[in-house]
Amino acid sequence: MQQQLGYIYDRIETLSPMHSKKLKKNMAFFDDRYLELADTFFNKYTRILQAQNKTLDYSIDCYLQMIADVNSETIEFLRTGKYTSSTFDEVNKRVYARPETMEYYMHGLIMSQFLWRHHYQMFNYFITTLPQYVNVIKHYLEVGVGHGFYLSKVLEVLNPESSITAVDISETSIALAKSFINDSRIDFILKDIFEFDNHKKYDFITLGEVLEHVEDPLKLLLKLNALLSPDGVLFFTTPTNAPAIDHIYLFNNVDEIRLLIKAAGFQIESEMAILSEDVSPEKAEKYKVAVLYGAFIKKSNPTN
């Protein structure tokens, strides 16, 4: 196994043997493409950390802190059937407005991109499907840019003349994404998406794991429907049953997400649902194991 990746797995095994067991199950699903992508990614990420006087050990600690948070949120979720927060104000005070929390959370999320099988598989689904739309994308928008990994790969796929806009509500996210992607083609905008309107229609919009962070996901999808060109495509992902310190909208199952797509005036072009743990579907339902859902969707009535 590649050097950085091997180090990360060994260190997690030392610090958290129980979590390490889960990660080792994931590894059985990883192929050569994974090893190549993960290696490139962690080399780049390590250089960014070094520039900030940080080490990979720091990021592993951030990741394990995030896992500890997820575990306590999951226990509470299994006790009550609800996420611990339900309003934006609550999670804003608890997470977004606290730079120290955002810091470990973002680094933890970056690590999960390649340590969690479902994150990698969803990324793979996105990046292998995107090329079929590339020729019609003049204007590309990403909402909730996070750590910028998706966007960094989009740059490799899109035509050079396409315009690229990235909107995020978090200054920490934008700063981190900029450190990952140094490309003048991207127009980064620090703004709440509900307040964003530059009188432009987009041919492709990406919304990665954002719906679960808003109080009214239908309102957000309607907003994106309005920002899309008539034949534009929206790719979005969101999980079911995924407690986290900043998740406020609970999807109990994939059908609830499909109903939302329809209600927002979209139809599904293609979709993928991935269990977050290596368990049988029966056990997944019994234990409320998270499913990561992703879909490419288009307006059901393009004249609107």
Partner: protein, 80 residues
Amino acid sequence: MDKSEILRIVNGVFIDILDDENIVLTDETTANDVDEWDSLNHIQLVVAIERQFRIRFNSQEIQRWNNVGEMVNSISAKLN
């Protein structure tokens, strides 16, 4: 309820959640000794044990346990 009875009931919960009839727990048993005792199952075990004994653990307790004996001690302290 004495600790040996608590251990017997906890053993039953492990068998049920991990779906393995052969599990025999002792106070010294750790996650290293039980293949299926990973982070996902640990959470399920915690919640099932809470339901079984009608108790609640706090997150510090859950993270502090090093073996089954320490888990049994936490349960015993809440019951007695």
